[in-house]
């Protein structure tokens, strides 16, 4: 009797072993492979973009703390704050006893996150640079959180949406676009930036796409020289058209002549998350309108 | 020719009880020496007479009018002061420093004329620093700087010359030269009033003396009446031996 039971138990264990031995792994944006023993149950997001992606991956219920300015989705507003970008509250993070940290390459300080890693908290870095990086990030986070099912649908929907936009606008007539990030100093983006890629997807030509820096600081003269046909910005606040009005006085600009000065809603275009799809859709419609006015 | 008068003057030395009121006149042709130990208030008295400090009591009168109510510019045409401590201000050449003596004589819009420059150069020559005219004052020795300061006063050419220990830092030759210069000026109508720490210089060159005692007492008058050994000993709290030299008394600290 005993021998039979023990044989059966051993057999069951042997059958289960492969499953137990298969740890959960995903590659992060720094090229490291992060492996967890089991799906993460307490996740702290260190930036608003990471928060949105975690919720898109279906792991929202597992998030126990978020970085400042995490305002989407609305549920995230109720979660405890752990500090802002490079000024994280290390104590608050440790006190939440997380088993996974999700960090943003351009937002969080490497040193601070490494400090947390030294304390035994695994960190997963995100840095979406292409549209494909967004669904891939969702899928990686889903693997780490054990929520592959709901995530798949989100990721696929995003891919399909982008593909649709690409098809729709692949033959659109090119328009010269200037995207204004800030007014003092005057900043724009180059073609490696995600917004720059959105402009190209919609059939626009980013007049400063060729510059080496991701967010170059340029002069008004350079903008006049480039003679854009459309000027797009998200302004300082939603609904603030001050920067666009400042361009009105330069009536040699084709954009001013055609009245192609547009304010884009910032939230959906500025963050590389699922909402980017809405943002790109909106931008493409804006450029369509602009094309008609030229 | 101006006359400076102290009337019931009580000098304001912060933290010190008022001394005896002073009442003397500094007239053209007079060479006054102010004697007293360190801390007796000689410098403060000089600054008060120049109008740089308000007195605690009494008044200073210039040509019959109180100093305090007169325009500073007018006053500085008639009273000049050489300070004891050199305030090291901004860098400047020797000639530039002497030239500022002409400031009271020029209006705001006037530039210094060649006459002004000539006056300054003459003054520098008289003080034997003419050859240093383009040197920066900060590069000079203490004695040279002292002579530049006196040259500045000479360039200013006021009627009343106030000097605070003008022979400090000077070697023997220049001490005599300066005292000679001051006496000559007094002879041609200036009034000289100076603080001296060297009793014998005062005895030799001054025709009037003011003695400031450490306890606040003071006495003044023609030199012959002031050069009484007992009062000098009381002044310096030091026994003195007197010697006759060229008909003038010479005082040496006694031994023991």
């Amino acid at each position: 009797m005993w021998r039979g039971c023990s044989l059966m138990l051993t057999g069951m264990l042997l059958a289960l072993m492969p499953a137990l031995a298969r740890a959960i792994c995903a590659d992060d944006a720094l090229g490291r492979e992060l492996c967890l023993a089991g799906p993460a149950a307490r996740i702290v997001s260190l930036s608003p973009g990471a928060t949105e992606l975690l919720f898109s991956a279906g792991a929202g219920s597992k998030v126990v703390g978020v970085g400042a300015w995490s305002d989407y989705p609305p549920e995230a507003e109720q979660l405890p704050r752990v500090g802002d970008s490079s000024r994280l509250d290390l104590e608050a993070i440790v006190a939440l006893r997380p088993d996974l940290l999700v960090a943003w390459v351009d937002g969080n300080s490497r040193q601070q996150v490494e400090r947390l890693e030294q304390l035994g908290l695994p960190a997963f870095w995100l840095a979406p640079r292409e549209f494909e990086d967004i669904p891939r990030a969702i899928e990686s986070l889903a693997v780490l959180a054990g929520t592959e099912q709901p995530a798949q649908a989100e990721a696929q929907a995003f891919r399909a949406g982008i593909r649709q936009l690409e098809l729709r606008y692949q033959n659109a007539g090119p328009v010269r676009v200037f995207y204004q990030v800030w007014d003092q100093p005057l900043m724009t983006i180059n073609r490696d930036e995600l917004i720059g890629k959105a402009i190209e997807l919609c059939g626009g030509i980013n007049v400063f796409g060729h510059l080496p820096r991701l967010v170059p600081r340029i002069s008004k003269e350079a903008v006049l020289q480039a003679a854009p046909e459309v000027i797009v910005t998200s302004g300082r606040e939603p609904g603030d058209r001050q920067w666009l009005q400042a361009w009105q006085s330069y009536d040699s600009l084709p954009a001013v002549v055609a009245d192609n000065l547009f304010l884009e809603p910032p939230d959906i275009l500025a963050r590389p998350t699922v909402r980017m799809l809405d943002g790109v859709t909106h931008l493409c419609q804006t450029l369509e309108t602009a094309r008609a006015r030229l | 020719m101006s006359c400076l008068k102290a009337r019931e003057l009580v000098v304001d030395i912060p933290g010190r009880a008022s001394g005896a009121p002073l009442g003397f006149s500094v007239k053209p042709g007079q060479v006054w020496g102010v004697l007293g130990p360190n801390g007796a208030g000689k410098t403060t008295l000089l600054h008060t007479l120049a109008g740089l400090r308000p007195p605690r009591g009494g008044q200073v009168q210039l040509d019959g009018r109180t100093l305090a109510v007169q325009w500073r510019k007018q006053v500085s045409r008639r009273i000049g002061l050489v300070f004891q401590d050199r305030q090291d201000g901004f860098p400047a050449t020797v000639l530039e420093t002497a030239l500022i003596g002409r400031h009271p004589w020029l209006s705001a819009w006037q530039m210094e004329s060649s006459d002004d420059i000539a006056l300054a150069e003459q003054a520098l020559q008289a003080l034997d620093v003419g050859h240093l005219r383009d040197r920066l004052v900060s590069t000079l020795s203490g004695g040279e700087r002292q002579r530049v300061a006196i040259a500045t006063l000479m360039t200013q050419n006021p009627d009343i010359w106030l000097l605070d220990e003008p022979t400090n830092h000077l070697d023997l030759h220049h001490q005599v030269a300066v005292m000679n210069l001051l006496t000559t000026r007094a002879g041609s109508g200036k009034a000289v009033f100076m603080c001296l720490h060297d009793l014998n210089l005062a005895a030799r060159w001054c025709n009037h003396l003011l003695l400031l005692y450490p306890n606040g007492e003071a006495c003044w008058g023609p030199a012959e009446t002031m050069l009484v050994p007992s009062s000098l000993e009381q002044l310096y709290n030091q026994k003195l031996e007197t010697v006759e030299l060229d008909g003038a008394p010479f005082f040496v600290p006694a031994r023991g």
Partner: protein, 324 residues
């Protein structure tokens, strides 16, 4: 100093100023050439060229000249006031106050005009604060003024650090650019030029009194200078000049320290020559620095404060070495 030795260097500097400004107007993201510039001035040129030259470059070059002149004269005045050749316009905390004003406005999400107004108000507040504190009991001596100013400047510095720490990351580039000194958002140059001109005119009759004051305040009093009123006037004038400059272009460093010093090494110590020369030489220097900042990595821009620091320090060291 005879009049001719003042007129000649000044005339030379005026000529140089005009040449440098003309040069600067021809240079930019788009090269324009002297003939095109002259043609635009005489009424010709395409819309784009006219906009570039008359609406963008000319005001900017004039603003650069004004700011450079204002800071240099303010620096020279501060050096006389404090009897210290190492003083600069910001040593009494004026730029700190302006910075706090500007940064608070930026933190509140305000733009252009409000930021400039706040900067000016902050500068005036800093001026009055140091004036009032130094006034206290006892004499208004240079060392007391300097100590008060240094402490107040440190206080402003702490506030600036606090504001920077609390700002959301997106607003930081704008603040940092302002703190470095940046001419790209300078508006009309005419108020600045007017203040500069008035200051120079005011300072000419005071020049010799300043020479005397520079030798020491007691000495000056003995020579008939009204020391206290003159010092107040110099202080307020220097503050007004600095406040105007900082409002136009943020805290541009080194110009106020290096230019008066350089000129004194070359031209001597007569304030009647130095002060107007500072106005011209400072203007020339800043126009050149700004032109460099506009073009060296075009179309990207470097803030002019970076250029003045990089140019100013080695120039100064070289001149000090030469003068030994």
């Amino acid at each position: 100093m005879p009049g001719s030795s003042i007129v000649r260097p000044l005339a030379g500097l005026v000529l140089l100023s005009i040449l440098v400004m003309m040069f600067a107007v021809t240079v930019g993201s788009a090269q324009s050439g002297m003939f095109k510039v002259l043609w635009v001035f005489s009424g010709g040129g395409t819309g784009l060229e006219r906009t570039l030259i008359l609406d963008l470059r000319l005001p900017r070059v004039l603003s650069a000249f004004a700011v450079g002149g204002l800071l240099s004269v303010a620096g020279a005045l501060m050096q006389v006031l404090l009897r210290n050749p190492l003083a600069d316009p910001y040593v009494l905390g004026l730029s700190g106050g302006a910075a706090v004003g500007a940064l608070l406005a930026m933190l509140a999400g305000m733009g252009g005009f409000v930021v400039s107004g706040s900067a000016f108000a902050g500068a005036l507040l800093a001026t009055l604060l140091v004036f009032g504190l130094a006034h206290g009991s006892g004499s208004w001596t240079p060392s007391r003024l300097l100590l008060t100013g240094v402490v107040v400047a440190a206080g402003w510095g702490a506030l600036i650090t606090l504001i920077l720490a609390m700002t959301p990351a997106a607003r930081l580039p704008g603040m940092l650019y302002w703190l470095m000194g940046d001419l790209s958002h300078s508006g009309q140059p005419w108020p600045g030029l007017l203040v500069l001109l008035l200051a120079c005119l005011l300072v000419l009759p005071l020049g010799r009194s300043l020479n005397v004051l520079a030798r020491g305040s007691l000495q000056a009093a003995a020579l008939g200078v009204a020391v206290r009123p003159l010092e107040w006037l110099v202080y307020l004038l220097a503050s007004l000049l600095t406040a105007t400059a900082v409002t136009m272009a943020g805290a541009v460093g080194f110009v106020g320290l290096v230019v008066p010093h350089m000129l004194r090494l070359v031209l001597g110590n007569d304030q009647r020559l130095i002060l107007p020369a500072c106005a011209l030489a400072g203007g020339i220097l800043l126009v050149l620095a700004d032109t460099l900042g506009r073009t060296v990595i075009a179309p990207e821009q470097l803030p002019v404060g970076v250029i003045t620091a990089l140019l100013g320090v080695p120039t100064f060291l070289y001149l000090l070495y030469r003068s030994r």
